[in-house]
Structure formats: structure tokens, C-alpha cells
Amino acid sequence: MSTPKINKKTPFDKLSSQERQAVYNSSPFFKKKNEETVAFLKKHPIPKER
């Protein structure tokens, strides 16, 4: 799926849902948090039998 290009002059409220999601997904905080969780689950996998 291609990432929508964001026009930074567009007020945030006017962005489409896909554009907002792209902004959130590219947020360094979320990126770091997702990477950390992937690393955590590699070390401590969720049991297959739940």
C-alpha cells in the first residue's frame, strides 16, 4: 500500500483518515514503541495455547 503524501500546509482537521494514519504511523514515538514491542515479544513470545 502506498503512503499518501502529506501537504504540511493543510490543517490537520482537513486531512483524510488515510493521511492522518500516515502521520501517526511515521511518528517517531509510535515507530520506536512498535519496534520495542516486537523485540520484547521475540524474547517473550505469547504462548500459542491461550
Binding site: F12, Y24, N25, P28, F29, K33, N34, T37, H44, I46
Partner: protein
């Protein structure tokens, strides 16, 4: 869940929810994101933070002090339940970016435990293993699945 909460916005196929916290420090856009982190299973990481529109970034470490912690926690819990009902095979993982944030998630789980335990299973990571969630115990991470 009958606790007072904010109404959130969401759209089909979009894995984030937004709502506004209103309080003495103004109107703050909050974002809850479910990011799929495994292709093999439907494992989603729960992300939650304030959105800074000037910087275009999420800030999880900011403390809004908007005197609405309980209402915000109730909103996050409702968003998680809403997401799980739409994605019944999902496993949602929650880890705070700091121990105090993880405790905040824990407060949310504890607050709604009696209302969700019949429909959802929650396990917490503690002492190097995943254990059934129990009130009053501190965990490093959680995951929730629909029963």
C-alpha cells in the same frame, strides 16, 4: 462500561481512534493506535499518546494534567473493546513507554476487570512468564484476547 468517557472517532479499515481531552489545560487531541506487528498472527501493539499538531508528532511522555485521567482511561478501554469486537482474532499487546505508563494501563485494566473478564482474557508478563491477570499485581506488559 458505564463510566464517563469521551466519544471517539474512527473509520472502518483505519486502525486508530481519536478523541479530545478537555480540561484546564485546553483541548488535547489524543490518539490510540493499533499497529499490526506480526503477519503470522493478528498481533497488534497498542499505542497511545497526545498528538502535537505543531510538530506533527505523538508525545507519549507529556503529562497533560487535564484532570481527566479516569475519563481518558475509560475512553482507551472502550476503544480497545471496540477494536477487539471488530477484530475477534486480534491479540492486543499493551506496554507503557515507561513503568509509570504501564502502571497507568494497569489501572485501566483493573478498573474495568469485572466488566470485561467474562468476554476477554488478559495475561500479564511478570517474572519472565505470561500469567493470568490478577488485580493488585504489577506486570511489565499485557495482552488481551477475546474468549
Amino acid at each position: 462500561m458505564n463510566e464517563e468517557s469521551y466519544s471517539f472517532s474512527k473509520e472502518p479499515g483505519i486502525f486508530y481512534y481519536e478523541f479530545f481531552s478537555n480540561g484546564p489545560n485546553g483541548r488535547i487531541r489524543k490518539v490510540i493506535q493499533f499497529h499490526q506487528i506480526s503477519n503470522a498472527e493478528e498481533i497488534y501493539n497498542l499505542g497511545f499518546g497526545d498528538f502535537n499538531e505543531q510538530l506533527g508528532e505523538i508525545d507519549d511522555l507529556s503529562v497533560s494534567n487535564n484532570q481527566d485521567t479516569q475519563k481518558v482511561l475509560a475512553t482507551v478501554a472502550k476503544a480497545v473493546v471496540d477494536f477487539m469486537l471488530q477484530h475477534p482474532k486480534a491479540i492486543v499487546v499493551a506496554r507503557g513507554s515507561t513503568p509509570s505508563r504501564t502502571r497507568l494501563y494497569q489501572m485501566g485494566v483493573s478498573k474495568f476487570w469485572s466488566q470485561i473478564e467474562n468476554n476477554f482474557e488478559i495475561k500479564g508478563f511478570k517474572e519472565n512468564e505470561w500469567k493470568p491477570y490478577e488485580r493488585g499485581e504489577n506486570f511489565d506488559a499485557f495482552y488481551i484476547v477475546k474468549k
